[in-house]
């Protein structure tokens, strides 16, 4: 059980702001912090890690007080069992990929697991390379692997997958998910990716201007009142073409492109670049597994 109730003064894009985060996270939970740029997501992670000091409040993890302004307790980051993946990777420039991971290892067992982790993030061929010779995505994978070495109590991930292509992203999402279930490590993820959030997290905390405005399941958050047996899709309108006598609307929904026929009247309300909801009442779907 992690209990957080802290305040911190921030200078944001919209002027000064008194951020106040109150949050309880269950053991082993996978929680995603979701919110616009500058909302305070990174700041919250840093305060949990002990890298930044809240102005006031309390952080308690498994009954252990990590921070308490009233009692003047403030555990240093070293004493907090955390794994942190930084937005700028923060790899050690003089150490090779393997050395970066070995540095983190504390026990012989962890030392032995290093190569396994390197393989997990598919960097075996690069394990003796220095960080400066890696591509952006490769660096990010090293940072992720390094944070996992010590089996931390809480894994704090600041957009760890944002620089990855979708194949690698999906692979690492699966690994994250696996690690989470296998090790049962409580995980806090900052992500802007809806699919990622839905796929990985048990719960979502929506953050806006330094406040947690809502916590709920990711599905609840993203799906409008869903009706069973009904398809309702939100998509970007890519093109509207007139194909006598009807209009063909091309919609992008996620990774899928959908073409739908619309009447002249319907089409006149739509414009390219806008969004549309595609729904249907009479629908007889066929589901085919893929891959």
């Amino acid at each position: 059980m992690i209990y957080i109730n802290i305040t911190k003064h921030l200078d944001t894009a919209e002027g000064p702001l008194n951020a106040h985060f109150e949050l309880t996270i269950n053991d082993g939970e996978f929680l995603t912090l979701f919110g616009p740029s500058g909302a305070g997501k990174t700041t919250l992670l840093r305060m949990i890690a002990g890298l930044e000091k809240p102005d006031s409040g309390k952080i308690e993890v498994d009954g252990e007080v990590w921070f308490d302004s009233a009692k003047k307790i403030n555990l240093p980051p070293q004493k907090r069992s955390i794994g942190f993946v930084f937005q700028d990777y923060a790899l050690f420039p003089t150490m090779s990929v393997r050395e970066n991971l070995l540095f983190a290892a504390e026990t012989t067992e962890q030392r032995h697991n290093v190569d396994e982790l390197i393989e997990l993030v598919e960097l075996t061929a690069l394990s003796d390379r220095l960080p400066s010779t890696l591509s952006g995505g490769q660096k990010q994978r090293v940072a992720l692997a390094r944070a996992l070495v010590r089996h931390p109590k809480i894994l704090l991930l600041d957009e760890p997958l944002s620089a990855l292509d979708s194949t690698m992203r999906h692979k690492l999402q699966d690994s994250l998910s696996l690690i989470h279930t296998r090790l049962g490590v409580t995980t806090l993820l900052v992500s802007h990716d809806i699919a990622e959030t839905v796929k990985l997290s048990d719960r979502l905390a929506a953050i806006e201007s330094g406040k947690i405005i809502r916590t709920c399941s990711p599905m609840e958050f993203f799906s409008p009142k869903t009706l069973s047996g009904k398809v309702q899709l939100i998509g970007d309108i890519l093109s509207i073409e007139y194909d006598q006598p009807v209009y063909v609307i091309t919609l992008l929904a996620g990774n899928s492109i959908i073409k739908a026929v619309a009447s002249a009247q319907e089409a006149s309300a739509l414009k390219v670049g806008g969004k549309a909801v595609l729904s249907s009442k009479a629908f007889n779907p066929i589901l085919i597994p893929l891959g």
């Binding site: 890690a49 980051p77 070293q78 942190f84 050690f92 420039p93 003089t94 540095f103 220095l130 400066s132």
Partner: protein, 224 residues
């Protein structure tokens, strides 16, 4: 003569090596303090570190001599404990350390201040203490600054003579280092011998520094 020449050279590089080592041990924490401390009067300490440079070396030596003198508080305290710093090798080490301190501290401080904060933080979140982070992560990555400090301190100690002349008293085998010997030879208009000393100093130091730079370049390949 030959053996005296050799003894002088050995003494010179021994002094430079010991001084540099001590300076490394003092300089790194001091530089770290100057970079990371949030103390209000840090600038004052920063300034004080540079001050030994401002006095002419022989004058600094004179003040040191006063401090070492049995008449002074420090000197008499040391004397009671059987330590005599004036005219001893230990005294030379203290003088050289004091005099070359800024050359060690400055480059390290400047390099440290450019290390990105998240590098420290990453190491802390991996459970490493400040000390371990410093030794295993930061120092290797500020190698340039360390090498600058080592080279400057080492070369400066080899060449220093004002302080050493004053507090050393030119005792062969104990405090007569090469810089003093050269100076003596020049004063005695013994130019040939002076050239020989100078050339040897030059050659040996050149070889040492060249080695340091070349090794450094090799091992730096690829970083950054």
């Amino acid at each position: 003569m030959e053996s005296e020449f050799l003894a002088t050279m050995v003494l010179t590089f021994k002094l430079a090596a010991i001084t540099t080592l001590i300076l490394l041990l003092i300089g790194i924490p001091l530089a770290a303090f100057l970079v990371f401390s949030k103390m209000r009067f840090k600038s004052v300490i920063e300034t004080i570190v540079s001050m030994p440079l401002v006095l002419p070396p022989s004058v600094l030596g004179f003040y040191l001599l006063l401090a070492f003198s049995p008449a002074s508080a420090i000197g008499s305290f040391l004397n009671e404990h059987g330590i005599r710093l004036a005219f001893s090798f230990e005294g030379l080490v203290i003088g050289s350390v004091l005099f070359s301190l800024p050359f060690m501290v400055h480059p390290i401080q400047s390099a440290l201040s450019q290390v990105h904060r998240s590098i420290f933080e990453a190491s802390y979140t991996l459970g490493k203490s400040k000390l371990e982070t410093m030794i295993r992560v930061i120092l290797p990555s500020i190698r340039h600054g360390l090498i600058s400090g080592i080279v400057l301190a080492f070369a400066h100690t080899v060449g220093e003579f004002g302080v050493i002349l004053m507090i050393g008293g030119n005792i062969p085998g104990e405090t007569r280092v090469a810089s003093i010997a050269i100076y003596d030879e020049v004063e005695s208009l013994n130019y040939a011998m002076a050239h020989q000393y100078a050339l040897t100093l030059f050659a040996v130091t050149f070889a040492i520094l060249l080695l340091v730079y070349t090794l450094n370049k090799k091992s730096l390949r690829g970083i950054q």
